[in-house]
């Protein structure tokens, strides 16, 4: 049964029919969308606590009333993991919060994470019926977060049921969102899952990439703990392709391998001065702060604390970096982006939050050279002013240099956040694995199976650089496909 069918079935339940009848759709649509409670901007830009504070039960129940419980919920089509959106929302409306959380966990191994970092405005909420009525979408993301948080805070966390063990061992390379989602689904189906992580902590990008103020690490720990309770084994400090080869894994009795090694190799622009001291990738900067906790005086890992920090790029990682710099004491923190704000790939919420925290935006500017002092430290950059031309392959208007329009910007730290290339470790270590020109693992689209039969792959190692939820969707699809392939075999 698909999750859409499940939602339809639950929709027939008497309690839900009653609930629908309790209020007219017009009344539901008249309720204004809830506003997220937030930590004050001046205060939060000096601490690392979470910016969004979540909804109260009353706010959540009120927001849940807004959902019309459509017979054909288009929101679900916008969800890469197929969450039964109306079902969990109606449980919230009915005040049955644990069941709302349980519904989420049927399809989503990390609801508390997704409720915080998914770009809902481009997925489920972009398809909400309210938009067709010129109203704001139901705050599906806030409600997801509410249900998951309420369960955690109640202390009565339900562990999803797993099928009896079938004794089949599967290995996962990488413990980021794709790997965790795959592990959860396979464990649920009765497989014996072992997740290998190259770093010393579990969570992949959720650990090293997304900052505490957007995704508290205790939430990541809690979601991982649920997977542990479902029987998933986690082995840190083990680099698949290096510590253990593909052959080692097969010899150990693993029947399938899901490769979710994530994006690696930060892109640099290849301009003069990029290797000056104080110029670094956002991956380095965020890893130092998030994974290594360099902001903690007890930590042995150092980090630059510029007073005048420039971050190059307009994506979510750029926003995470610039907002982190502010929290580490930057008096001035600037986003330098070559297109205009309309083309920025970052979530609107992140841009809004950044602006509230005093981040400056220098759009239509592109660095062409970094300037150093006598000690080799960055002290400024030369910027080419840009204008927008015709749309390019991405559908966004192409930035073009305005001849002769060069400016300089003083800075004592530069964080380059202009995308990543796939991690080369596994692609080069697994002989016979077919790769794209960019070095991404090539997979069959519907099954995510690679050219090596027992190896499946998903997330950024396949996509090159996407979102947490797309990676999680890949994990689910690969789990379903691997299970189906083995069921078909004698």
């Amino acid at each position: 049964m698909t999750t859409t069918d499940k939602n339809a079935l639950s929709r027939q339940a008497p309690w839900r029919v009653e609930l629908r009848k309790a209020k007219k759709n017009r009344e539901r649509a008249e309720i204004p969308r809830v506003r997220m409670n937030e930590q004050d901007a001046a205060r939060r830009s000096r601490n690392k606590e979470e910016v969004n504070l979540g909804l109260t039960p009353a706010q959540a129940m009120q927001e849940a009333v807004r959902c019309l419980d459509c017979p054909n919920p288009s929101c679900m089509e916008g969800c890469p993991v197929g969450v039964q959106i109306p079902t969990f929302i109606k449980y919230i409306e009915a005040g049955r919060f644990p069941e709302a959380a349980g519904t989420l966990k049927e399809t989503n191994a990390l609801p508390a994470v997704c409720g915080r970092v998914c770009p809902q405005e481009r997925q489920c909420e972009a398809r909400c019926i309210h938009l067709k009525m010129k109203k704001e979408a139901v705050a599906i993301g806030y409600l997801e977060r509410f249900a998951a948080d309420h369960e955690r805070e109640s202390g009565q966390i339900s562990v999803p049921k797993t099928a009896p063990s079938n004794g089949i061992r599967v290995a996962v390379a990488g413990s980021g969102p794709a790997g965790l989602s795959f592990a959860g689904d396979m464990a649920r189906m009765g497989y014996e899952v072992t997740v290998f992580e190259a770093l010393h902590r579990i969570g992949g990008v959720l650990r090293y990439g997304i900052p505490e103020f957007r995704l508290p690490k205790r939430i990541v720990d809690m979601e991982i703990d649920i997977l542990r309770q479902m029987g998933v084994r986690f082995i840190p400090n083990c680099i698949v392709g290096k510590t253990l080869s593909r052959e080692d894994l097969l010899a150990e009795g693993f029947r399938g391998i899901f490769v979710a090694g994530g994006a690696g190799l930060p892109n640099f622009m290849g301009i003069p001065g990029e290797n000056l001291l104080g110029v670094m990738s956002s991956n380095e900067y965020l890893t130092r702060v998030n994974l290594m906790e360099a902001d903690d005086p007890e930590s042995d890992t150092p980090v630059w604390r510029g007073k005048n920090v420039a971050v190059i790029g307009g994506g979510n990682t750029a926003m995470d970096s610039v907002r982190t710099a502010r929290r580490l004491g930057a008096e001035r923190a600037v986003i330098v982006y070559r297109r205009s704000e309309a083309e920025m790939p970052a979530r609107l919420e992140e841009v809004k939050h950044a602006r509230e925290e005093g981040i400056e935006f220098l759009t239509l500017h592109n660095p062409i050279e970094y300037l150093g002092d006598e000690k080799g430290r960055v002290r400024g950059m030369r910027l080419q002013k840009m204008c927008l031309g015709e749309p390019d392959a991405s559908g966004r208007r192409r930035p073009e240099p305005i001849e002769g329009a060069i400016e300089t910007l003083d800075t004592d730290e530069v964080i380059v956040s202009v995308g990543v290339s796939p991690n080369p470790l596994i692609p080069t270590a697994f002989k016979g694995l077919q790769l794209s020109e960019r070095g991404c693992i090539l997979v069959e689209e519907s099954t995510l199976r690679s050219s090596l039969g027992e190896v499946y792959a998903g997330g950024d190692i396949v996509r090159g650089g996407a979102t947490v939820i797309l990676a999680m969707g890949d994990g689910r699809r690969a789990a379903r496909a691997m299970n189906a392939a083995w069921r078909a075999e004698p």
Binding site: A263, G264, E274, T287, R305
Partner: protein, 263 residues
């Protein structure tokens, strides 16, 4: 998990540790490195593997106390555990029979040179080793080097042992004396810079193993980037060994200082 099976003190600041790591011992080859982190709040630092014993399931690390993290590692005792250890990382040394290989090591760089010397000799090369240190006490691994090479030349800056002089003098003496087909150098960056400059004059292909600052060491952060032949390369996944004549050592020396005053 990663217990210290034995510890030997080479000098006041240099120790040799044999660490339990059966999977790494099995997978490692000459040239590989590991990431070591001591304590929950420890730093991740790269150390090139100096040897392995697959029977005992252990690897050997030679560590010089030069900063917070290396001091913590050197303070560990037999029976202690290393909190986190991961590897083997990097590309293995390309080993083939080329004729005469001159291996020049300085400081604790002598330790990771050991497996390369061994592998080069086993591949059928004539192997000459130049070991250099400030003073006699700091000359490492002389005996095992003798066992796996055709000749060992010792250089000390104060003349307390072997010949008086720098590693480059030892290297140049050999080059003047006989045909050298390949030079491999591991040591402090400034030493490798001068060895590279010397062998370039004599047009002898030279490999240097670089030890830069790293964080994840799996190709993710770019902290370790160096310029080789005008291109940016990542030491953790593209290296640690590169054509020494192409490496921008001045930039590397500068980048090694990136965190000296930024605590």
């Amino acid at each position: 998990m990663h217990r210290i099976l034995s510890k030997e003190r080479f000098s006041s600041r240099v120790v040799k540790l044999e660490v339990e790591a059966p999977l790494i011992a099995r997978a490692r080859k000459a040239g590989h490195f590991v990431i070591v982190k001591t304590g929950e709040k420890g730093e991740r630092i790269p150390l090139t593997i100096a040897g392995a014993d697959t029977q005992r399931g252990s690897i050997t690390l030679v560590v010089q106390a030069v900063g917070t993290s290396t001091e913590k590692i050197c303070a560990l005792k037999e029976g202690d555990e290393i909190t986190d250890l991961a590897g083997p990382l990097g590309q293995a040394t390309h080993i083939e029979k080329v004729g005469t290989v001159l291996c020049a090591g300085g400081g604790v760089g002598v330790a990771p040179l050991m497996p390369i010397v061994e592998a080069m000799q086993q591949a059928g090369n004539r192997v000459i080793v130049v070991l250099a240190a400030r003073t006699r006490e700091l000359i490492l691994l002389e005996e095992p080097m003798r066992a796996f090479s055709d000749e060992v030349i010792l250089m000390t800056e104060d003349g307390s042992y072997g010949e008086k002089g720098l590693v480059t003098q030892g290297v140049e003496n050999v080059i003047r004396r006989e045909k050298v087909d390949l030079c491999v150098t591991i040591g402090p960056a400034v030493m490798m810079k001068f060895v590279a400059a010397l062998t370039k004059r004599y047009e002898i292909p030279t490999i240097a193993s670089l030890n830069t600052i790293m964080v994840d060491a799996t190709g993710m952060c770019g902290a370790c980037r160096v310029t080789v032949g005008g291109k940016t390369r990542f030491v953790c996944v593209d290296g640690p060994e590169f054509d020494a004549h192409q490496v921008d050592f001045n930039e590397m020396l500068l980048r090694l200082k990136g965190y000296d005053n930024d605590r």
